[in-house]
């Protein structure tokens, strides 16, 4: 299992990584601090990821732009993307779902919330 974490907060990536390692100790977790970095990481790894966890509010290339870029490329279009973000306003959540988000987790979250979203994606 290979997972890509996209969040401009290194602290949040550490927290997500810890929660994931409790659930999937053997998972390989790669990180990116914004959408541009994430697209580079995807390319460098031949888009071979089990799922992506993506923040929205990020510098350079935000999460919505990143999601749209991922969905627009045939080689990444079907990758599961869980949006994990402090953006909780209903209109913006719907915008992400319409743009192709596989699932949506609003911060603040409990570790069990993240694990549940991941399980739901993996069981699809």
């Amino acid at each position: 299992m290979k997972i890509l974490l996209i969040d401009d907060s290194s602290t949040m990536r550490k927290i997500q990584k810890r929660v994931i390692s409790e659930l999937h100790p053997d998972a390989i977790v790669l990180e990116a601090g914004n959408g541009k970095e994430a697209l580079d990481v995807l390319k460098a790894n031949n888009n071979d990821f089990t799922f992506i966890l993506c923040d929205i509010n990020m510098p350079e290339m935000n999460g919505m732009e990143t999601l749209k870029a991922i969905r627009s490329q045939p080689e990444t279009a079907k990758l599961p993307v869980i949006m994990c973000t402090s953006v909780a306003e209903k209109g913006q959540v719907m915008e992400a779902i319409k743009a192709g988000a596989t699932n949506y987790l609003v911060k603040p979250f409990q570790p069990a919330d993240l694990q549940s979203k991941i399980s739901a994606v993996l069981n699809k």
Binding site: S9, S10, M12, K14, A88, K90, V106, P108, F109
Partner: protein, 155 residues
């Protein structure tokens, strides 16, 4: 600024610290109104600009010692001194608070800028249009006091 716009920030602060740091902060006295140009009480300070249906900013400020305790609980790893984890974690906590508060603003879209965190005493706070700031004094049960401060108007 309408008082009903302050409550979402208080509720979001409590929810965020309960969920992410396993601590329940409490109100610590009455709201205060301060004119632009006031000097902040504490030396660790994070600020996020608000736009969309409103214009303004939300700010969280506490002592370095209290900030280290809060971020240590968030990260589940001890932070003893100013470093990247402290500044990043503090900004992320404020980002989560601002996002949760924005979602509670009924029928109003509030967009968040990226957080900025600074460390240093005697910061002088201003807001666009010279709007005043509403100060919400709060405290953690064991870690010390902090403020949530909001300056905001509808557009």
């Amino acid at each position: 600024m309408k008082i009903e716009h302050i409550n979402p920030f208080i509720e979001a602060t409590v929810t965020t610290f309960k969920s992410m740091c396993a601590v329940e902060p409490l109100r610590d006295g009455k709201l205060e109104l301060k004119e632009a140009g006031f000097i902040t009480t504490y030396d660790l300070l994070g600020v996020i600009g608000l736009s969309g249906g409103v214009k303004g900013a939300v700010l969280m400020t506490m002592s370095l010692e209290t900030g280290c305790k809060a971020v240590s609980a968030f990260l589940m790893d001890e932070v003893k001194e100013p470093n990247t984890d402290l500044m990043d974690g503090f900004g992320e906590l404020l980002n989560i608070i601002a996002g949760a508060a924005a979602a509670k603003m009924d029928g109003m879209r509030v967009d968040l800028a990226l957080p900025t965190v600074v460390l240093g005493a005697n910061q002088q706070m201003h807001a666009k249009q010279g709007n005043p700031w509403v100060i919400v004094p709060m405290k953690f049960p064991d870690w010390g006091k902090f403020n949530i401060e909001v300056s905001m108007e509808e557009v």
